[in-house]
């Protein structure tokens, strides 16, 4: 009798959890679904009241119109190019600096490291205007250089994160390698970096997504259509076609789809990365 009531209680409990979570799922997935469905509807259907769930006739016309109005595919490639360049630079230069902070002894190290930590608190808005002025002085405004160079040499967050991971690798490995005649760069490259794969994967995803989704910086430095990133491109498209929601949804689809595919396939790493950072940072 007792076991019977316990098992019904467990069942009711898990039923309730599933019910709540299914409502949650709808809440989080429906907006994306609605975007997708709207993107295939005709302009007349957008104004139809009551709105219909599925398009009367599925049509690619909105996509054709969007792609002839704004070079969104070019902008996707721009985003990819910029994100790959910045991420590659960040992984290389932040990991080198992190190795140096974690393992090598040199004068002023502690001071430099606290300076790094200090800058992590500073909001982007503080450095935005001077960085813009520097870019203008260098004549790089409105070019790919403006999008790539400020992030290319890595950042304090990346260096800090990787340093924390280098610290968890036992020092004996370095010493053994050094006895075997391995130099500092060899230890970094051949011994430690292979062990850093999970941390590097997290930083890769963070940096890539950060650059891909960045909006404020491209907004400030880029005016030319053909240099715009997809995020900026979508925002300026919205500025031009404020209420043409059938076109806006097609444009949004083009901007969201590649990210979503990449994201769903690598979500495990993404979530692991966030948890790792949350615990280490």
């Amino acid at each position: 009798m007792t076991s019977y009531t316990t098992s019904t209680r467990v069942k009711t409990k898990s039923f309730l959890i599933h019910a709540v979570m299914i409502v949650c799922c709808i809440l989080f997935i429906f907006p994306f679904l609605w975007m997708a469905l709207t993107s295939f509807k005709s302009p007349q259907e957008i104004f139809q009241w009551p709105p219909r769930m599925f398009p009367e006739e599925w049509s690619w016309r909105n996509y054709q119109e969007v792609l002839t109005a704004v070079p969104l595919l070019r902008m996707l490639l721009n985003s990819l190019f910029v994100a790959v360049a910045v991420t590659a630079g960040t992984l290389l230069f932040s990991s080198l600096a992190a190795y140096s902070f974690a393992r090598l002894r040199f004068k002023g190290k502690d001071l430099l490291f606290s300076m790094y930590l200090g800058t992590m608190m500073v909001p982007l808005m503080v450095t935005l205007i001077p960085t813009f002025v520097i870019m203008r002085k260098l004549g790089m405004v409105d070019t790919y250089y403006a999008l790539i160079i400020p992030g290319f040499f890595g950042n304090a967050f990346g260096t800090f994160l990787l340093r924390q991971f280098f610290m968890t690798i036992p020092n004996q490995l370095d010493e053994a390698a050094r006895i075997d005649g391995c130099g500092y760069f060899g230890i970094y490259m051949r011994i430690l970096m292979p062990l850093m794969k999970p941390a590097l994967a997290s930083l890769f995803i963070f940096t890539f997504m950060g650059v891909w989704n960045d909006f404020l910086w491209p907004l400030v430095v880029i005016q030319t259509e053909s240099v715009k990133t997809i995020t900026l491109g979508l925002a300026s498209f919205q500025g031009l076609y404020t209420t043409k929601y059938h076109l806006l949804m097609a444009a949004a689809m083009i901007s969201v789809l590649p990210v979503m595919v990449a994201y769903i396939s690598s979500q495990r790493y993404f979530i692991e990365g966030i948890t790792l950072t949350g615990l280490k940072g």
Partner: protein
């Protein structure tokens, strides 16, 4: 003698490599972070339109201009309301979902993925989507409300609702991030503690207050720090949904800094505003550290 010489040489090369490896990263930090921080501070004492030479105005950006800037105070108020709405609600919602997903049920991964979906999508795309859903005349939300005989509203076009609406969108986007961190925190609580407490007759609330909450304070701390930083710096969302309107109802501080710098070309005043945001953020973070400082429990790590 020769040994210490060798040691000295070794430490020489060691520090040479130390500087060498750090050099590119440090150069980037210097040019794009450290120098800009100090330049920005200097700029905040000037009047500069980017074209004419900057004019030194001392503290007047802070003591005169800012004090009399109605928009500044409104944007500050809006930022605080936005933060007070998004931070507690965002964390509580994430905590509840994390608790549910910490139960042994089927499909946890699927549920987690769904809640997490908006986290990696750009705020601009998300704003574009929500503007359509919240549209006054044609939006699906007002239609659904009309089905249950509720009066719809101009969620983003009515001064009384706009700030609440953008707060809701912000919570919706970020709840997955907080949930993932809190879920990891919950998974780290050893189950034998719950078993022992249950045997001792502790009820669900007591277990929550005495075991769960104390042991996940590091995760709560991290989540609250990140939420404060995010909500003080909200920009993309405002830019692409309401542009600060209608009226001034959603103009937040970051948006006001941006407008001063890149619309009115008041580089000096914009820098002064940016520094005020920085100082406030710094103060709030210190308060959080003080608040969590004596509560953070790392013993179980």
């Amino acid at each position: 003698m020769s040994k210490s010489k060798a040691n000295k040489k070794k430490s020489m090369t060691e520090s040479a490599y130390g500087y060498l490896f750090i050099a590119p990263n440090l150069l980037g930090m210097m040019v794009f972070v450290i120098v800009p921080i100090f330049t920005s501070l200097l700029m905040s004492f000037t009047d500069w339109d980017l074209i004419n030479a900057p004019r030194w105005v001392g503290l007047s950006n802070f003591t005169d201009k800012m004090v009399h800037d109605q928009q500044f105070w409104v944007s500050l108020k809006n930022t605080f309301i936005f933060s007070l709405l998004t931070i507690p609600l965002g964390i509580v919602a994430a905590f509840v979902i994390a608790l549910l997903l910490n139960q042994s049920i089927k499909g946890v991964n699927l549920y987690r993925a769904a809640v997490f979906l908006p986290v990696g999508i750009s705020m601009i795309s998300i704003s574009v989507i929500w503007r359509w859903i919240l549209n006054t005349d044609l939006g699906i939300l007002n239609y659904v409300l009309s089905l249950v005989n509720l009066q719809g509203a101009g969620w983003l076009s009515d001064e009384n609702y706009a700030l609440f609406s953008v707060s809701a969108i912000s919570i919706w986007k970020n709840v997955g991030f907080n949930m993932v961190i809190l879920l990891a925190g919950l998974k780290g609580v050893p189950s034998h503690l719950y078993e022992a407490a249950t045997i001792d007759g502790a009820g669900a609330w007591r277990r929550m207050a005495r075991i769960t909450l104390p042991l996940i304070t590091p995760s709560l701390f991290f989540v609250s720090i990140m939420s404060v930083i995010g909500s003080f710096q909200v920009f993309d969302l405002i830019y692409s949904t309401t542009s600060g309107g209608p009226g001034d109802s959603t103009r937040v501080i970051y948006y006001w800094v941006y407008q001063n710098g890149f619309k009115f070309f008041e580089m000096g005043y914009a820098s002064a505003l940016a520094w005020v945001v920085f100082i406030m953020l710094f103060a709030v973070t210190l308060l959080q550290m003080k608040f969590f400082g004596n509560k953070v429990n790392y013993e179980m790590d």
